[in-house]
């Protein structure tokens, strides 16, 4: 990865408070005709600014993600990674700017999207089994009143098998380990048969085997033409397993092939002083357990208790 620094994608010494026009040059693909990018994008953002309350979380984001891309969103804590995903999922409305997802304004193609929240946002004490959770992926398409059909059941069984959780189908979700829970939530996403996966920290805090298994599955989905966008704290995973990387810190810092974006000089700009470069491999000195700026009233769930609402 250190070799890639020989072809710097942009001046790594420029400052985050540069003029917006210059900042957009940070996009490695900025040379591409914007109309072309929009027409071929599964996710397209134009000058998006968004925040919570009166605090800005992300500003002036321009982005086009082509169909079939396996994209990692990296950045320090509070950089706006989860916020960006929520914008794409239609869960947050941008203050300014435009968002198109799967060719329509955000939120309109919801049934073609599977969103998996951070593990802390799910109430694990909930009385549902593994297959109940995966079946939830089928609910939106089923609609009210209809009971799951044979096909729905088969889709759930297949999804459980793909994530290697068939043996746990009737277990309570809360009885599983962190890695198993991530597998089950990925199975729910697969069961929804979406065109766009939006995954918030899918491989955080899980063992290496699970991480490899889940990445193999996501890679397979991307090869089938599905778009997969995942936030991650794990730069090594982003470099090795994702085709492209998007680096954010309050705005879009860099976007391009992972080898180019994960250049230590670029990362230094994304992470500021919180980055340690060891033999060409960047290590983020960062508190791994952290939530991006969240909505007030959003419940966070930790082991051993019910969620506490944020003040």
């Amino acid at each position: 990865m250190s070799e890639s620094s020989e072809a710097p994608p942009f001046d790594p010494h420029s400052h985050p408070h540069d003029h917006p026009a210059e900042r957009r040059l940070a996009n490695v693909d900025a040379g591409r005709d914007p109309g072309h990018a929009r027409a071929h994008a599964d996710v397209w953002l134009s000058d998006v600014t968004v925040g919570y309350g009166d605090k800005i979380a992300l500003e002036h984001v321009d982005l086009a993600v082509e169909a079939g891309t396996l994209l990692a969103v990296v950045g320090p804590n509070g950089a706006g990674k989860s916020t960006l995903l929520r914008i794409m999922a239609g869960l947050l409305r941008p203050w300014t700017g435009r968002v198109e997802v799967l060719g329509h304004p955000a939120g309109q193609q919801a049934r073609r999207i599977a969103y998996v929240p951070q593990a802390e946002l799910v109430d694990w004490s909930f009385p549902v089994t593994v297959e109940d959770v995966v079946m939830m992926g089928r609910y939106p398409a089923l609609g009210p009143l209809r009971r799951p059909s044979e096909r729905d059941r088969r889709t759930v069984t297949d999804a459980l098998e793909r994530v290697g959780m068939t043996a746990f189908a009737t277990e309570r979700i809360g009885a599983l380990s962190g890695g198993q829970r991530r597998r089950v939530f990925l199975a729910r996403a697969l069961a929804a048969e979406p065109d766009l996966f939006l995954l918030d920290e899918p491989v955080t805090g899980i063992d290496a085997t699970t991480q490899e298994d889940l990445m193999d599955l996501l890679e397979a989905e991307a090869r089938r033409g599905k778009t997969v966008i995942a936030t991650t704290h794990d730069l090594a995973c982003a470099a090795q397993r994702f085709q492209r990387v998007l680096a954010v810190n309050r705005t879009l810092i860099a976007h391009g092939p992972s080898a180019l974006v994960l250049d230590p000089a670029v990362l230094a700009r994304v992470y500021g002083g919180h980055l340690l470069v060891l033999g060409g491999q960047a290590v983020v000195i960062d508190d791994a357990h952290h939530h991006d700026e969240a909505d007030s009233g959003e419940a966070h769930f930790h082991e051993g208790g019910r969620g506490e609402r944020r003040p």
Binding site: A89, G90, M136, Y139, A192, L198, R309, P311
Partner: protein
């Protein structure tokens, strides 16, 4: 023994009370399952107290009990929904303010009436044994309506309760479901007011599901167990209060509370017998 059970059934007032007890026990347990899972017990308490001014106004103008209580309760429920979604203050603070304020309004209005102390007691603590045929009909209609909505939307309510973000992103109208659910809680409380009264209605809503939660970890069996506890507690409490000539609502709530304590003591996860087994709930990263 058989006589003791059969004898009350010869009175129509007791039969009406029995039907009401079964209906209220069922609806409360079904809606209460979601209330407990959502952690909304406090909201249930607030809505029931907020129904009081509605009841008093209905009483003053000679209007329908259900209409008065229903309007007040649903309006408060929706106000709570609005405040907790958009408010700049913490939801529990806003609920606390609404809760006390609306109840005070009811007490204030009531104090302007003369000589209705007996009625105050029945508003606050219920009057299941004196429920009239029209009240029973209204209860049956509203109860069936609430159950019908849950039958149609149980999947969506479950998904939106378990993972609101995932559900919203996949196209469920989580915001509308939230308001609808609060309205269901309000209606459930309104139909339960006559059985157990304003002060104790939250127990009808929360205790059966809380008891069931100690016994099972599956959603469907949880709801079934809650209905069993709710209906069983209501029917047994009705009989017990008849035999002992005690307040019906209080007897029902006491019985349900006793069932909860038994489940707590003997349940598979929290019980004394479970103490020696290693906890199964510990998640490793």
């Amino acid at each position: 023994m058989i006589d003791a059970i059969a004898e009350p059934l010869s009175h129509t007032f007791f039969l009406r009370a029995l039907i009401a007890a079964v209906l209220v026990g069922t609806v409360c347990a079904v809606v209460g399952t979601y209330v407990v899972l959502k952690g909304l017990a406090f909201i249930g308490d607030a809505i029931s107290h907020a129904a009081f001014p509605g009841v008093v106004v209905a009483f003053m103008v000679g209007g329908s009990f259900y209409l008065g209580a229903g309007i007040a309760a649903v309006a408060t429920a929706l106000a709570i929904g609005l405040v907790s979604r958009r408010g700049g203050i913490r939801a529990d603070t806003a609920i606390g303010v609404l809760f006390a304020g609306t109840f005070a309004l009811g007490v204030f209005l009531f104090s302007t009436l003369d000589g209705y102390v007996g009625d105050l007691f029945s508003f606050l603590f219920g009057y299941l044994l004196s429920i009239g045929p029209e009240d029973l009909a209204a209860l049956a209609i509203l109860g069936s309506l609430v159950l019908a909505v849950v039958v149609v939307l149980w999947k969506e309510l479950l998904y939106a309760t378990f993972d609101p973000l995932g559900a919203a992103a996949s196209g469920l109208r989580v915001d509308l479901l939230e308001y609808l659910f609060l309205a269901l809680v309000a209606l459930t409380i309104v139909i339960s007011l006559q059985a157990v009264g304003i002060i104790l209605v939250v127990a009808m809503l929360v205790t059966p599901a809380a008891t069931a939660q100690l016994l099972t970890v599956r959603f469907r069996s949880l709801m079934a167990a809650a209905v069993l506890v709710g209906v069983g507690g209501a029917v047994a409490g009705l009989y017990l209060s008849y035999w002992l000539d005690a307040a019906t609502g209080a007897t029902i709530v006491l019985l349900e509370t006793a069932l909860f304590l038994v489940a707590l003591a003997l349940g598979p996860r929290t019980g004394l017998l479970a103490r020696r087994r290693p906890p199964v709930d510990v998640a490793s990263a």
